[in-house]
Point group: C2
Chain length 453, copies 2
């Protein structure tokens, strides 16, 4: 490999995993990982389920303890923010003033929850959920909360919603757009999620923004479209923003999404010129969307983790191009598994695609076999290819999203997916899988549309 000194700024899913992979494959590398956080190597995605007491302790989310880093020869510096990157001098400077030189630098500074510019948003009692500290702080407050407001209908807030309800709080969820999870779901699929949350006791307000968060010493209420909603705890879940301050300050190019522009080898640019010795990956960097070919930011653990392997390859001089990203995802909201992959109808329209769609409701087991669940499926096609899918149910969602991800990723048509054989046993699936049925119906619709053209 070119140069032995590798510095990572950030120890999340992209940075730390890449550092681990590199350490295993290049034992002679001198790897330093800086994180502003006191604890690293934990699962952020698990936090809603600790809050909901499915998982008994935040410490269970910590995947590697510091001795593992030492064993691997990794120098992981926690609670150490980087203040400056000196691209010309090939060095970073810590907040403590230490200057550390590198041969290769990886910027993996991640993302942060978006804090909407609303009066009162910085009052005590207004939380975000990103770091383990955030999780622990929320857990402490959760016990005493009587009135909770979640601002934003994104997946992290909705995954956390049952924790508030189970703790006995009165919960209001406010989403500015007229539906929950607008970046993942079409409106009628989001309505299934909304109905589930309402059935569990939440009040859901969509299509109205928050005017202000109110209180003196701490939060007391939220004003939404003129209505004052009591709140002793507020959780912001209104999307994320990439952490790019450090990159921006070093004059590294940012893209239209606000994220760091990288090429397929994760190399950053300065004034349009590719820098061979500086990579960026994870939530802070743009990726290319598979269907649209356009830059996008997917702040999802599985994407970051997947990138880490490519980053390590490229640090080792093995030029492995990172392909465009589809980002299949699933989240668990109460009893519902909510999955999506590719484009929603809205995202299609933004990309100039008028999608043909088919929606089906099926079952996860033979109808005479007890315990089966309903599964709702919506598929989208641009006519030739499948371009997106959404699946919601109490079981059998993840596997079907992965089937769809493979099909969309390989450019298959609805007919291709309909033609794929599926397995059958009464306790495991219906004779005809609902995904197969939906694909068949969409294929017919596509064929009819082509005929009528």
């Amino acid at each position: 490999m070119n140069g032995r000194r590798i510095v990572f700024v950030g120890a999340g899913g992209a940075g730390l995993t890449a550092a681990f992979t590199l350490a295993r494959r290049a034992p002679d590398a001198q790897i330093t990982v800086f994180s502003k956080d006191p604890v690293v190597a934990y699962s952020q995605c698990g936090m809603p389920f600790v809050l909901d007491r499915k998982i008994l302790d935040f410490n269970k989310l910590v995947i590697y303890q510091p001795p593992v880093f030492k064993d691997l020869g990794l120098d992981v510096r926690t609670s150490t923010a980087i203040e400056e990157i000196d691209l010309d001098g090939r060095a970073v400077t810590t907040e403590k003033g230490e200057r550390v030189e590198y041969d290769r630098l990886v910027i993996a500074t991640g993302s942060r929850p978006f804090v909407p510019p609303v009066p009162g948003v910085h009052l005590p009692g207004v939380h975000t959920l990103l770091t383990l500290e955030d999780g622990k702080a929320l857990y402490e407050r959760l016990k005493d909360a009587l009135n909770v407001v979640i601002i934003g209908g994104g997946p992290i807030g909705l995954e956390t919603a049952p924790a508030f309800l189970d703790a006995g709080a009165k919960l209001t969820i406010i989403e500015r757009v007229p539906q929950l999870m607008p970046s993942a779901l079409d409106p009628e699929m989001a309505a299934i999620v909304q109905a589930h949350l309402e059935q569990k006791g939440a009040r859901v307000i969509t299509g109205r923004g928050v005017d202000s968060i109110n209180g003196t010493a701490r939060v007391e209420s939220v004003t939404c479209a003129g209505e004052v909603i009591p709140a002793d705890l507020v959780l912001l879940s209104a999307g994320i923003r990439p952490n790019t301050d450090l990159a921006k300050q070093a004059s590294i190019d940012l893209g239209v999404t606000g994220g760091i522009v990288v090429d397929e080898y994760f190399r950053v640019r300065r004034n349009g010129k590719v820098l061979d010795d500086v990579l960026a990956a994870g939530d802070c960097a743009e990726v290319t969307g598979l269907i649209t070919g356009k830059p996008v930011i997917y702040a999802v653990g599985s994407v970051a983790n997947r990138q880490a392997k490519y980053v390590a390859d490229n640090l080792l001089g093995k030029k492995t191009p990172y392909p465009p990203v589809l980002c299949p995802a699933v989240c668990v909201i109460g009893d519902l598994h909510v999955g999506n992959v590719g484009l929603t109808t809205h995202a299609c329209e933004q990309a100039g695609i008028t999608p043909l769609t088919f929606s089906a409701r099926g079952a996860t087991r033979a109808r005479y076999y007890p315990g089966g669940k309903t599964v709702d499926i919506k598929l989208l096609s641009d006519g030739d290819r499948l371009v997106g899918g959404q699946i919601i149910g109490e079981e059998g969602v993840g596997g079907r999203i992965n089937v769809l991800s493979l099909a969309i990723g390989k450019g298959m048509s609805p007919a291709d997916l309909a033609g794929a054989e599926t397995c059958y046993a009464p306790p495991v699936s219906p004779l005809i899988d609902p995904l197969t049925y939906a694909a068949e119906m969409l294929a017919l619709k596509v064929a009819r549309a082509k005929k009528s053209q």
Copy 2:
């Protein structure tokens, strides 16, 4: 459509489903369906779970009642065996002597359990499990059975095994080959199934045949490799044979598998000459294996059901070629879901393929999330393509088999599968899906093997 009078012989998954599809799409067709069985339109695959009392009543397995047939204009003649097919006269004759003419004939006579040529095999108390009557008879006997022997390690017998154990019987399973489920699993994967059954209390004997079934008025014991094993109930589960007597008698060509030879439009042949007006489908007919290109019989409900659509298309004059078959399958044996698709190592060797394989044990959820299960995965490749896979676990098997089925069906390599993005949420999956991991490792093995050539 050519000719309005369509006769189906057999009302199982292929015949009745094709008749239903045809009736819906061609309301003017005059469709007659003959079945030797008194009840049709039920789920054979559900019977093990009625025996095990997961499903409370055999009647729940009946999917359509006779009034539905009438509503659709289908003339379904139950308890009416066909004695003869007159190909030249275009007619069938029932056992009651009625002659019914056809314009198009569909032979869907299904399969029957193989009855091994063992002394005593016809004694009362020796059962097979194919029809609803078989199921009910077994259910009645099950209550009083103290000592049960299952002859054959096929999936139907193994799915039924827990019913005997739960009823308190002492159970012995005898398989002549040195492993259970030899046509679906590699030996070490079958060992997982065997250990599960043993842990539930079954005795499993492999690699030894049955010498005789003994008794006077009814079965009393089974002799296996010289050992006399007490038995008041015996279940034969030693594979199936296609029902071809009627076809054979009409001089319709049979193939190397013993099944009826059909072309891609399900048309049979007489003395090598294709007959345009006679189709055969379901367990009685050969299909072409996707990987080997060779004829094979898959007596599986999902395959028969899938064929029905193509049969209906072809009866309607819409020539839709039926593609080669991969036959993904899953069965449920106690707590285990046991899935397979494509070729086993043994089947590879028979086809002249020396497979590269990788076996992985993974988890179905994030390791810190409660309730996750172990999943065992084995993948096989011929170097370029994935050619088979086996997955065993208490959950998450069916979805992954379907991913594999899509990948193998589309001729993907292990690297293609490893490159597919998968969704992630701690309660639904690990960060890296075990199937992705297995595919990655197999891709590495394939790359190394190519390099060393």
